[in-house]
């Protein structure tokens, strides 16, 4: 079974940089639990898709063998810097880049010193794979790709990883409801902005737990409209594509606010 894990995780830097802030603790702790579970699954490679790596022209993939640097989030710079050191599975990546022509998508590798790695990828890798044991395949979020296209790209990444004999984990990095507080708040009092958002987030999580996949794309389209959900939940499309739309159930390891927006860590049972 080369598919060894699948995780939905948030890309907000807030719980990562301030894990002790009480409202952010559930996410920080769930990230630790997810890291432990992932380590036990011993993946060779994480197939990562972060809503915050925005592409516009082609489908981009990180193709530089080792990507290191220091990132500062453009919104939350006062909470600290985000150093990163990413090891890329260049072999699987190169094959993914070639393979997307089969679905009519032109792909390009990104191999540049100083390329602005997004906050979500850094947070996910730093939380789940701090020792760099697993290498990464990282796909960008092309804003013109929809749910289906995103799911197809993940399927290609999964098939490719499998073809190369890798033990792989699928990781979708992004939030839930995207409604945020627009004024300064007491961080210790952070909460999901709006009861309706909270209820809709919980509805989505319940549905994921029940592995109720039929109609999920339509459900998410409506959910996204009502909650300003992060990028129409395409990070979830990535996970489901990587899973071939099949899983047995899911565990919500943590759920909480990130400056009003919703965040959750969900581990899918294979």
């Amino acid at each position: 079974m080369p598919l060894v894990a699948a995780l939905l995780v948030p890309g907000s830097p807030l719980p990562y940089l301030r894990p002790d802030n009480p409202p952010w603790k559930p996410i920080a702790e769930a990230y630790r639990a997810a890291a432990t579970a992932l380590q036990a699954a011993r993946p060779d490679v994480l197939l990562v898709y972060s809503t915050q790596w925005i592409a516009v022209l082609d489908q981009l993939w990180q193709s530089r063998a080792r990507v290191t640097g220091l990132h500062v989030d453009e919104n939350w710079y006062e909470f600290g810097n985000l150093p990163f050191d990413l090891a890329i599975d260049t072999e699987v990546t190169a094959s993914c880049i070639e393979s997307t022509a089969s679905i009519g998508v032109r792909s390009k590798g990104v191999d540049y010193d100083g390329f602005p790695i997004d906050t979500g990828t850094i947070v996910a890798n730093g939380s789940l794979n701090a020792d760099g044991r697993a290498r990464l395949v990282i796909a960008a979020n092309n804003v013109y790709h929809d749910w289906t296209r995103t799911s197809q790209l993940a399927a290609i990444a999964a098939t490719t990883a499998e073809r190369y004999g890798r033990r792989y984990a699928v990781v979708g990095v992004g939030g839930l409801s995207g409604t945020i507080f627009r004024t300064e708040i007491d961080l210790a009092q952070d909460r999901i902005a709006g009861d309706e958002n909270d209820a809709l987030n919980r509805g989505l999580l319940a549905r994921l737990q029940q592995a109720d996949v039929a109609g999920l794309a339509e459900f998410c389209a409506d959910y996204a409209k009502r909650t300003r959900a992060d990028m129409g939940m395409k990070h979830l499309a990535w996970i489901l594509g990587g899973l071939g739309d099949r899983y047995r159930g899911a565990d919500v390891l943590g759920y909480g606010p990130t400056y009003g927006a919703g965040a959750a860590i969900v581990q899918f049972r294979l």
Partner: protein, 303 residues
């Protein structure tokens, strides 16, 4: 100090292709030229700026998009390598800039006193966005004039175009008050493309100009309509059309820089000088100037 003033405003778009086409030593990527019409437009704008002799350049960039309020660069010197996330093949630029922190703080406090959420960015490791850097390089490649960098709050996208642009106008008022209070001779830079419909694939040779043309005829017509009104000094008309222009031409001015700049200048009904227009990967870009130091003088339409 007092009696500061805004001496001019420029519409100064930021396609990184223009830096790439110029081949300055700061940029790693090398080209065989390209986008000359726009680069020559910037040459004329550079000559104007030289004559204006400002103390400071203020730039509002859509590629520093902030969620919680309006942010201002607040570190005296910032440097690093800026790599464009969309066009890393074209733009890998080593920058170093000096910030007019005193003016930035004044802008921030004036904005705050007008009810806007405003913040100073104090992290010395912050990477300045490529929009700010491209606009600044194109208008003043010597980098010898201090800068105030202003983020684009996402309100026009998060709330509505109308509400968002109203906020940008308040930010413009605050900016003018801060300039006057601190006695600066200031030039404003609105870092915005006009029609933003673009091609989805890049030519094999990015600077192959046989592939460059407006992506949308309707978008091009919109750009010409807006530019023509600006050239005639019909500013009010432009701003009454702006929401429709934004919707129909997917115009990047939605992010607020143009509104910020015109609000700061008091929406002058004076002819804007077109230094040049050109497309970049299909989008419409105009380099224009409003010289407030001689508002009564008729301005010849260039280019």
């Amino acid at each position: 100090m007092s009696n500061g003033k805004i001496v001019a405003g420029f519409l100064a778009p930021h396609p990184p292709h223009l830096v790439y086409g110029e081949n300055p030593p700061q940029n790693e990527a090398r080209s065989q030229g390209g986008w000359e019409q726009l680069r020559w437009a910037y040459e004329r704008a550079r000559a104007s700026l030289e004559r204006l002799k400002p103390d400071v350049l203020l730039v509002h960039s859509p590629h520093w998009m902030t969620q919680l309020g309006h942010h201002f660069l607040g570190v005296p010197t910032l440097k690093g390598k800026s790599v464009d996330p969309i066009f890393p093949n074209l733009f890998r630029y080593n920058f170093a800039l000096d910030v007019d922190v005193e003016l930035a703080e004044a802008c921030c406090s004036e904005a705050r006193s007008r009810g806007l959420v405003s913040k100073m960015m104090r992290n010395p490791d912050f990477r300045v966005d490529y929009g700010t850097i491209t606009t600044l390089h194109m208008i003043r490649p010597q980098w010898d004039i201090p800068v105030v960098g202003i983020s684009a709050n996402n309100s026009p996208y998060y709330l509505s175009t109308k509400e968002g642009l109203e906020e940008m106008a308040v930010l413009g008022d605050a900016t003018r008050a801060a300039i006057e209070r601190t006695g600066r001779r200031a030039v404003l830079l609105a870092s915005n493309t006009l029609c933003h419909w673009h091609f989805h694939e890049e030519p094999e040779i990015p600077e192959d100009m046989s592939r460059e043309h407006p992506q949308s005829y309707a978008g091009y017509q919109w750009d010409m309509r807006i530019i023509e009104l600006f050239r005639k000094g019909r500013t009010k008309e432009v701003f009454s059309l702006l929401p429709q222009f934004i919707d129909e031409a997917f115009a990047e001015v939605k992010s607020g820089a143009l509104t910020w700049m015109f609000a700061a200048m008091g929406y002058p009904e004076i002819p804007g000088q077109l230094h040049g227009y050109g497309t970049v990967i299909g989008t419409g870009n105009a380099v224009m100037e409003w010289d407030l130091s001689a508002p009564a003088a008729p301005v010849a339409a260039a280019a």
